[in-house]
């Protein structure tokens, strides 16, 4: 089964803990043994896993901003005719590429198998926007 989950982000850059929602979907799926995949549907967001601490969230986002500076002569800085908008968010795309678009976990006995400190994050990198990610549970 696959579920699309909407999330209204509220800032330019934001790490949103979605672990609870993913666990709920796994439980509701009825799958006892298999695997769960969490994917973002966007190219200026990311899905990642880290310890669920505010200081680490801040460090992660700040480090991303340092790695990919806002100002630089990016080529992706022009009007995009297919969108009818200025495409001037190269840093958001590049930060997303560094983090990745999905994670997956084993499912055993009807629950995610994850370390006690592992937190699943939906990461906004060009908000605020209404976004979506998918949770797909495969197994029996």
């Amino acid at each position: 089964m696959l579920e699309r989950v909407g999330v209204q982000t509220t800032a330019d850059t934001q790490a949103i803990d979605v672990t609870g929602r993913v666990r709920e979907i796994v439980t509701a799926s009825g799958v006892q043994n298999g695997r769960v995949f969490v994917n973002t549907l966007h190219t200026t967001t990311a899905i990642t896993v880290n310890e669920g601490l505010e200081d680490l969230e801040d460090d992660l986002l700040e480090f991303l901003r340092d790695l990919v500076p806002a100002e630089r002569p990016y080529r992706h800085a022009r009007f995009l005719h297919s969108d009818g908008q200025m495409a001037v968010n190269a840093p958001s795309h590049l930060r997303g590429a560094l983090l990745g678009m999905h994670v997956s976990f084993p499912v055993a006995d009807g629950a995610i198998v994850a370390g006690s400190r592992q937190t699943i994050y939906f990461v906004e990198l060009d908000g605020p926007l209404f976004r979506e990610y998918t949770v797909q549970v495969l197994g029996e």
Partner: protein, 285 residues
Amino acid sequence: MIDVHTHPVQVAELLRDDPALVRAVREVFGLFMPPQPLETFLLHLDEAGIDRAVLLPIDCTTAHGVTIVSNEQVAALVERCPRFIGFASVDPNLPDAPATLEHAAQEYGLRGVKLDPALQQFAIDDPQRAFPVYARAEELGLPLLIHCGMSWAPKGRSALANPLALEAVVQAFPRLRIIIAHLGWPWVNEAAMLAFRYPTVYLDTSVLFSGTPTESLRQALQTSIGIDALDRSLSRQIVFGSNYPRVDPKRAAWAVEALGLRPKLQQRIFHDNAAALLGLGGGEA
């Protein structure tokens, strides 16, 4: 902070009940992004630090058979969210345009008029069609925000939007306050000339052609006009505009901040000049 230039063309709550608007936004205005909840619009303003935003409709009845958001829809958004300031749009090609403007101001409380000669396809200095609209706006004390320069809209004709044609309007209607949108790019010097020459002419900062908003604005204000000239002669005639959703308000705001202006000039651009122009109070003493 006040943003004088936003288009409510991506608001899901408007688009889902109005298939004609969906078509107008795509085919005439040329925005192809999926709708977003109204909440996203407000969060965009928050992220940029914007307190109030002007909503701009465009009445293209004669040229394209559509309105790109109606005056009624703007009024409804303002009623729902007092952070918005609604402008009206009327079609100068229609003889009842002045009466429609008066109705929008008196019945809906709309506080300015938006015209886009490139999309609405009228001559800025047409005394038969356009002048009666300017006359009624002047009489009602409504500021005019007029698209000038390149039009990104698929149906837009940029040649109709040369700001030089506004000189006849400024002279004929000396009490009409006119905001030239997009710094009139590529006619930045022409737009600036009018602002230097006439204190009733304002410029908005929503210039977009290539590069980031920071690069575009630096090119127009720093390289073309010059920051010293801006500070000396135009500091009370320039207002912040983002042109959302063609560009994100946050990036439009970052572009002004990146100029490194004198704090007083930045404050005038972000707030004081628009507050005075729109009669909002809280303007500079």
